[in-house]
Symmetry: C2
Amino acid sequence: MVVDELNDETVDRLFHALADTTRRDILRRCVRGELSVSRLAEAYPMSFAAVQKHVAVLERAGLVSKQRSGREQLVRTDPDAVGRARQALDELESAWRGRVDRMARLLAEEPGTAEPQVPGIEENNTPEGPER
Amino acid sequence: MVVDELNDETVDRLFHALADTTRRDILRRCVRGELSVSRLAEAYPMSFAAVQKHVAVLERAGLVSKQRSGREQLVRTDPDAVGRARQALDELESAWRGRVDRMARLLAEEPGTAEPQVPGIEENNTPEGPER
DNA sequence: CTAACGTACAACCAAATGGTTGTAGATGAG
DNA sequence: CTCATCTACAACCATTTGGTTGTACGTTAG
């Protein structure tokens, strides 16, 4: 598994998609991938189009994928997506805390994917300003 | 440590606060708690007031706290806050995956805080619709 | 004391968000 | 074939967001 550095826009979309109760609920429901958009929409007090938009937000964030089945569009939560969110948190956290331990953890989890570590990063990690 | 169920609004605010590059950058910079708001503002291509608002968003999400020091207001990232975000992801994920293993992990981490588990939850966990 | 600094907050604005309704194109059921 | 269903998407609207400038106020430096 390549660790695949998450860029800012990706993380923005990821967290933004997660920052809504309805969308988080959709994620929970769609792990088994059996629900069509209209079926989903029945569960919420809003229009079909609104739910469609929520699914689109989740899809752009990579949290969900759609698979056509006849005239229905089945929504399926990507189980690894939450892992990516967790990775984003890890990358945030790794800027300050448990840098070494976490690195060790990663190395333990994924032997062979170790990026050659630049020696001597100590308190050098005040990131430069973002480009927003 | 009380596990403290995170309610929807809390999680909304948490992820929303994290869904912005500037705010994540502020979090990284303020772990040591030495930066005043105006000092922070120097780092970004936007006005003092804009940064002030970002800090306010982080504060409402519980990711950051301010401490007065003379005329300055020092911003400090709550190191446990990212933990809370992780917990929110855990709670999401626990709706489907590794329910048992994760529970075991929690029990291992926090012996004594185990909530008596209702036996026989199997496929019963389609949550009811949110109230949004 | 006075001036400069750091903060708070209001007012304003453009763009994005979250919702709506309406229309139209595929697809499947009968 | 025809009709109902599912989806896609545009247009519209209210609210929120992310930014601005301006003003006011407390605090510290000189």
